[in-house]
């Protein structure tokens, strides 16, 4: 399967990052064009692919994770974002036949992303 997928994990609790907003954009010339806004499901994933296989093209993409809002809504979370708020992850599809799984592991004070599988 080609395309783009993601998975949000709350590293501080070891639980899926459920209900996090993600804005998915594609590079269009000199700017980013919003394709869609997604909310992660109970498993921290998205019900539909972020980008379906048949829509995958070589290019630059952005996943904007709303990490600050996610933790602000958590019981015991900070009232306002303290260190991370929106976290953009920009990456390329360099071969449209491959799949790009781009997870987000986060706490209010740290985040990590990588090409997963």
């Amino acid at each position: 399967m080609a395309g783009i997928s993601t998975h949000v994990l709350d590293s501080g609790t070891g639980r899926p990052g459920a209900g996090m907003r993600i804005d998915f954009s594609v590079r269009d010339g000199d700017s980013w064009k919003l394709v869609k806004t997604i909310t992660t499901n109970a498993d921290g994933r998205t019900d539909q692919p972020v980008l379906a296989a048949d829509a995958a093209k070589v290019g630059q993409y952005e996943l904007l994770f709303h990490v600050g809002d996610f933790f602000r809504r958590r019981p015991g979370g900070p009232a306002e974002p303290v260190f991370l708020d929106t976290v953009p992850v920009r990456f390329a599809i360099f071969d449209a036949a491959q799949h790009y799984h781009v997870p987000m592991l986060c706490t209010p004070w740290s985040c990590s992303t990588y090409r997963g599988s």
Binding site: F83, T86, R90, T113
Partner: protein, 165 residues
């Protein structure tokens, strides 16, 4: 724009020239492209005054992220405005704090790392376009009384950043 924190190529010249005199220019160039070895112990910044510092580690090569071009921007309400452009020093840090005293203000910041140029300079074999190219690290300074150390771990395929110490 404040003064640049710059690591010049001159910092690497003595080692390169010494090697060149022994084994020739080709080998010296290859050596220059290789990451710097670890020559320093960790630095404690305990009890330092409020400031923004950074440290980038290339965990692909197991070395400091030395000589990486970066720019620091601050959000002015409409967009991120560049405050300064710089290169990391041999230790993957900057010689001076990125922000300190009157320049250390609460706000939204973005550190943009030229990860593609960095790995191209180390002759890493990667697809084109590279998976990561210019990596934006966004963070807040929310308390001007506490310093922020931005710790960054990166490879051509991944990165992580966090409030370090």
């Amino acid at each position: 724009m404040t003064h640049d924190v710059t690591l010049t190529r001159r910092a690497f010249l003595p080692a390169g020239l010494a090697l060149g005199s022994l084994v020739g220019a080709g080998a010296a160039q290859a050596q220059a492209a290789a990451p710097a070895g670890l020559a320093t112990a960790p630095v404690s910044q305990l009890n330092l005054s409020p400031r923004l510092t950074m440290h980038a580690i290339d965990i692909f090569h197991g070395s400091p992220g030395a000589g990486m071009k970066a720019q620091l921007s601050m959000h002015d309400g409409t967009g991120y405005q560049v405050l300064r452009r710089f290169e990391t020093n041999r230790g993957g840090r900057t010689d001076q704090p990125l922000l300190i005293e009157e320049s250390y203000r609460p706000g939204r910041y973005e550190l943009l790392l030229q990860v593609d140029d960095y790995f191209a300079g180390r002759a890493a074999t990667l697809p084109k376009p590279t998976f990561l190219s210019q990596v934006p690290l966004r963070f807040l300074i929310s308390n001007p009384d506490e310093r922020i150390h931005l710790a960054i771990l990166f490879t051509p395929w991944s990165y992580s950043y966090y409030r370090g110490s």
